[in-house]
């Protein structure tokens, strides 16, 4: 008769922490037998034992109840993880696609639609998946180490909350992120300028085969990107955007888009067309740039109007009655 009970206990034991397994099993065994004795006396049938075990519930669910509340990433770390992921999901595919195309152009193999379009997209998907897994794993490890954002609890001050729907607000994390990425990009462009072209071999004395670039446009790109970082930092220091600063920021961004068209897109596209002339029919770099400039112009323009129209005085007053 105890075979069913032992099988039940064994199944529960598989899913509870090893440290407390024996204790839980002994206690459950005693509790199950108490119930059986109480209901059916000393000699229960297998069906009667089955009824009691069914009432106890699925052994896996029973075992789950012995665990503390569990989650892979807790509520304290979850927003941070999502922030890292959301930035990564933008950057990782873009960087991988860029590097893949670059790799194809620098390799001796012929340029085809497969290795220029399909393979970079597949690589981007793969890299994004790996990136996401690694980020989740790192956050899960941090979660398991018992890390707590204690400082956040004491540092929170409602008075420091940004005004709702204030278009002038500067996002601290966005600024920090923009500063970091922008700095890396500027260093990359400076390297291209020094070695005289685009390459993936980062060795000043031996940059390998480079795709020649117009030096003047690359210099303009470096200046506009650096200026963008500076305007972002000024806004961060002031705590808000002004009409003038935002207009300058927008101008630099648009100028940067034109500069990147001449300094990066055109040289890469010319190399692609050189290897596969059938791809030269559509002016892809021009389409991308015009599309980007148009979207940026509209969205930044809307924000400029919002900043200009935002009331500088508080929209309500408090009474001290």
């Amino acid at each position: 008769m105890t075979d069913l009970i032992e099988r039940y206990l064994h199944e529960v034991g598989r899913y509870v922490p090893p440290k407390s397994r024996a204790d839980i099993q002994t206690e459950l065994r005693s509790l199950i037998q108490d119930q059986i004795d109480d209901r059916y006396g000393g000699a229960p049938t297998e069906d009667e034992i089955t009824i009691v075990l069914k009432e106890m519930g699925d052994p896996r669910q029973m075992a789950t109840l012995y665990h503390k509340e569990q989650y892979l990433i807790g509520p304290a770390l979850y927003p941070w993880m999502m922030m890292v992921l959301s930035y990564g999901w933008l950057i990782v595919p873009a960087v991988v696609i860029f590097l893949s195309i670059f790799g194809v152009l620098n390799a001796s193999q012929s340029v085809t639609v497969t290795n220029l379009v399909i393979e970079p997209i597949l690589s981007a998907l793969q890299a994004t998946f790996i990136f996401s897994s690694v980020v989740v794993m790192i956050f899960a490890i941090v979660e398991r180490t018992g890390f707590e954002w204690k400082s956040d609890k004491t540092a929170f001050n409602p008075a420091n909350l940004p005004k709702a729907d204030d278009p002038r607000t500067v996002d601290r994390f966005e600024s920090a992120f923009g500063f970091t990425v922008g700095t890396v990009i500027v260093l990359l462009f400076v390297y291209f300028l020094v070695v005289g072209g685009l390459t993936l071999r980062f060795n000043l004395s031996d940059p390998g085969d480079v795709i020649p670039i117009p030096q003047g446009w690359m210099l303009a790109l470096i200046i506009s990107t650096t200026s963008l970082i500076i305007t972002q930092l000024i806004a961060l220091r002031r705590g808000h955007w002004t009409v003038g600063l935002w207009a300058l920021h927008t101008f630099l961004e648009l100028f940067g888009a034109i500069a990147i068209y001449f300094a990066v897109f055109v040289p890469i596209f010319e190399r692609i067309v050189m290897d596969n002339s059938s791809l030269g029919d559509i002016p892809i770099p021009a389409i991308i740039t015009i599309l980007y400039v148009f979207i940026a112009l509209v969205s930044r323009g809307i924000k400029l109007v919002q900043i200009r129209n935002y009331p500088s005085a508080p929209s309500f007053t408090t009474s001290s009655n």
Partner: protein, 115 residues
């Protein structure tokens, strides 16, 4: 099962989740093992499933609200639980809180029925 009864079931479970601890603590001024506690609670009209009670006893013990000891002299080994000093203090605070809540809820629900 209809949507209404499914929703009611879920809400009922949520409602009971908080008070189960209070009910269990209130009955452990004397030594009790799991099954005897279920019977005692049931006799007083508070039914609780085995799958809910046993893990709960263990958690309350880990939190220091209960003390336990194995009794091996009977026909089978049994783990007896009893409220700890900490548990007693928490029970006192929670009981006062509960009585106050009941008073407020009576007013709220009573007020609603007169609308």
């Amino acid at each position: 099962m209809s949507d209404i009864s499914e929703q009611t079931d879920k809400l009922r479970q949520e409602l009971r989740r908080g008070i189960v601890v209070l009910a269990v603590l209130s009955q452990l001024h004397t030594n009790q093992y799991g099954y005897s506690l279920i019977q005692q609670l049931s006799a007083k009209g508070f039914d609780i499933e085995e799958g809910t009670l046993y893990p709960l006893l263990r958690r309350l013990e880990e939190q220091g609200l209960l003390k336990s000891e194995w009794e091996v002299t009977e026909s089978r080994p049994r783990k007896y639980y009893r409220i700890s000093e900490n548990g007693r203090e928490i029970l006192r605070i929670l009981s006062a809180e509960w009585l106050e809540t009941v008073k407020i809820m009576n007013q709220l629900l009573g007020g609603e029925s007169h609308d």
